[in-house]
């Protein structure tokens, strides 16, 4: 009995000691933090995604450090790793991230709802010369949550048609302007060139949703109807599913995989193994850079072909910069955001090939001078008629993408996509109801 109580005492002492160590650790952090907040740490910790934008900004960082005397500590991740990082760190309430590059349409609502993003409403209006009013209204809408500005859009994306000039010329065809012409061209290219696919695009359930969205809009549909109900089983949506899946199934690469995101699809196109390809314009450098692409000298760009609902591509802010609400260094973090999104830098970045969200940069001739002329024209068309989202606008975006993407892979593999759309619509409606 005595031994037993001693044993318990030892364990209890150990537990108390451990708890003491832990609590001293956790109390140390805020103390250090508040000192940093009052003086403002000289180091800004910036987390960015792998992107052409990031490369361009990285090259300019020494200028910023020299101008302000601040030091930038940069962490860079691929998209999935970035999401996982944010999930773990922001969930734990970290103050180790000051500036964060995030996807307003993918995670924006979730992050804002959970209070991860600092309110920038006063910051963005503090300097008229920097020009918050210069940012396009669509992107600004998606970095605003409940009337509070929580991010500054840095990259916009529109879907365009990438095509091979030589293969179209060989088939004696013009650049497809309608969905019917697109299918005809895909068929002709596949028939004339053994081993070359007529058409390629993303095929992975989750990744394909954004690129499919322009097809959906051009067929006259949308993910969510005007009444707020699921619209993915509408006639227009069913036609769009069958069309997109059919193009890949009938005129796509042999043994087509249902795991392709943009790197895989882009590789097929740039290796010269496909004639037509619909993809985000912000990736165009991959196709026009001779170091990465075998078809750099023969690639052309056109607006999304028109369906029954017209030519309606998405026009979305794919990335934005936000400030971690738990950061102790918010005023210096804002200095970085302001610098990285300034007119001067936005122009430089756009000239490096990243479509921006600033009206003045698009109006400036120097802003589009480095773009292939047909790409600039295609982007202008998409921006004019564009739809401001490329995925369902919900909080649970990843789950909704899995649901609405399911009929796509069914169509690609030759299944009954209409039945799949009906089934997906029920699941999607359930998700919408749960979020109300």
């Amino acid at each position: 009995m005595k031994r037993h109580s001693v044993r318990i005492a030892v364990i209890a002492t150990a537990a108390i000691l451990a708890a003491g160590v832990l609590s001293s650790c956790s109390s140390a952090a805020p103390t250090g933090g508040s000192t940093a907040a009052s003086t403002g740490s000289k180091t800004i910790r910036v987390t960015l995604a792998n992107h052409v934008w990031t490369d361009a900004i990285k090259a300019k960082l020494p200028e910023f450090e020299k101008e302000t005397g601040l030091k930038v500590e940069l962490s860079q991740y691929g998209e999935d790793q970035l999401s996982a990082q944010y999930n773990v760190k922001l969930n734990a309430g970290t103050n180790e991230i000051d500036v964060m590059m995030y996807r307003p349409l993918q995670e924006g609502k979730l992050f804002a709802k959970d209070g991860y993003l600092a309110n920038l409403s006063t910051d963005v209006k503090s300097d008229p010369a920097w020009g918050w009013s210069d940012f396009q209204s669509g992107p600004v809408g998606s970095t605003t949550y409940k009337d509070k500005v929580v991010g500054v859009p840095i990259i916009t994306e529109q879907e365009v048609l990438y095509y091979r000039k030589d293969l179209l010329a060989k088939a004696g065809l013009k650049v497809p302007k309608t969905m019917a012409e697109l299918e005809q061209a895909a068929k002709a290219i596949k028939a004339q060139n053994p081993g070359v696919a007529g058409f390629v695009a993303r095929t992975a359930k989750n990744a394909a949703v954004t690129q499919y969205s322009s097809f959906l809009y051009s067929f006259g549909g949308d993910f969510i109807g005007k009444s707020g109900k699921s619209a993915i089983a509408s006639d227009a949506a069913k036609k769009a599913y069958a069309y997109y899946g059919g193009l890949i199934r009938n005129y796509g690469p042999a043994n087509v995989s249902t795991d392709m995101s943009w790197p895989e699809a882009m590789a097929i196109f740039t290796q010269g193994n496909a004639g037509l390809y619909t993809e985000a314009d912000s990736l165009y450098k991959n196709a026009t850079d001779p170091a990465k692409s075998k078809v750099a000298d023969t690639v052309g760009f056109a607006p999304m072909p028109a369906g029954p609902g017209g030519s309606k591509a998405y026009n979305v802010p794919s990335w934005a910069l936000g400030i971690n609400a738990a950061s102790d260094n918010q005023s210096n973090a804002w200095k970085f955001v302001k610098w990285a999104t300034s007119k001067k830098l936005t122009l430089a970045v756009q000239q490096a090939g990243v479509p921006s969200a600033r009206t003045s940069v698009w109006a400036n001739k120097a802003g589009t001078a480095t773009y292939p002329a047909d790409l600039a024209a295609a982007i202008a068309a998409s921006t004019k008629n564009g739809i401001g989202h490329d995925r369902p606008l919900v909080i649970k975006v990843p789950e909704s993408r899995d649901i609405v993407g399911d009929p796509l892979v069914v169509a690609i593999t030759g299944g009954d996509s209409n039945a799949a759309a009906d089934q997906a619509s029920t699941a999607f409606q359930k998700l919408l109801d749960a979020e109300k």
Partner: protein, 307 residues
């Protein structure tokens, strides 16, 4: 003042006597605290999350939902049960192949021969490669269009296969990769067992006129039983928990049709992709109980048979 000086040695003596009597607890304490913090706390936290509807952020308010998550998961024939089936197919298939191959290779390496060292090193190579690198390598080899696997098939006149991208072929292909990587570990374990066997029973059987197969089946294998069970337990638990090569080759969700989604991949998706911490924790707790049950069955049966 004098009083304190007089008491201190006694207090120290009492303490040191106490410490001496309980030294096994005292010395074990750091390790126990470490294990407690790093295993028990996360486990308890997961168990707690599994009875809440925690979503989006673990710091966001969540409410207690009792066993609702468990009922939801156990009634989910869309993702959960197929994932359970895949977990067992993957483990069972890979483990069986690894045991048969591993035993064969171990028997071949048992008797000394020339160049033995080199062969052993070559066999161990897959084991030391990092799983994600292995995943990427096989992903390239099995690429349906530019991969080496289909190139080989073309040379011998067989039509190209979808391999990792096929709905029906993805899981068997990954089982093959698992066999490729982990058979060496089984070989190592079994070889250690074989080397410790004494020669006499085998010799006796030989004198009695038993052929090679009979000597293996009736003499060597029964003597190797403990080693084989150890190999099954170690590799089985590891295979059940496989995540790296599945994620590296097929990503979150285990492919567009969830064709390689095992319990681990499913729980990862629920947690890191859907931010549905309640359901993810439920799946993990069920998975944990399942592994415990299997381990218990294997060790219990062993003890039962021995007595």
């Amino acid at each position: 003042m004098t009083a304190t000086v007089a008491i201190r040695p006694t207090a120290w003596k009492t303490y040191s006597a106490w410490a001496n009597r309980h030294r096994k607890w005292l010395f074990a304490a750091p390790a126990m605290i470490f294990v407690g913090l790093l295993i028990a706390v996360p486990l308890a936290w997961t168990a707690y999350l599994s009875v809440t509807d925690s979503q989006g952020s673990v710091r966001a308010p969540s409410s207690f939902v009792g066993i609702a998550n468990y009922l939801k998961v156990l009634g989910d024939t869309d993702r959960y049960w197929p994932a359970v089936l895949r977990t067992f197919t993957f483990t069972g298939g890979a483990l069986a192949a690894e045991l048969v191959l591993g035993m064969g290779i171990a028997l071949l390496l048992w008797r000394p021969f020339r160049g033995e060292k080199w062969v052993r090193v070559a066999i161990l190579l897959p084991l030391v490669a990092t799983p994600v690198a292995v995943g990427m390598m096989w992903r390239l080899i099995f690429d349906p269009n530019i991969g080496f696997a289909n190139q080989v098939l073309r040379w011998i006149g067989i039509p190209p296969q979808p391999w990792l991208s096929g709905q029906a072929t993805a899981l068997p292909t990954l089982m093959f990769v698992d066999v490729w990587q982990w058979t060496p570990m089984i070989v190592l374990i079994l070889l250690a067992g074989l080397t410790s066997l004494s020669e006499e029973p085998d010799e006796a059987a030989r004198i009695d006129g038993a052929n090679a197969w009979q000597r293996f089946w009736f003499v060597t294998l029964p003597l190797m039983r403990t080693t084989v069970v150890v190999a099954i337990v170690l590799r089985g638990i590891d295979a059940l928990k496989t995540f790296d090569i599945l994620y590296a080759t097929k990503g979150t969700g285990g492919g567009s049709f969830h064709e390689v989604e095992t319990l681990n991949v499913y729980a990862y998706g629920l947690s890191f992709d859907y931010n549905d911490y309640g359901t993810a924790s439920t799946v993990l707790i069920l998975f944990f109980l399942l592994i415990i049950a299997i381990m218990w069955m294997v060790t219990y049966r062993r003890k039962g048979n021995r007595s």
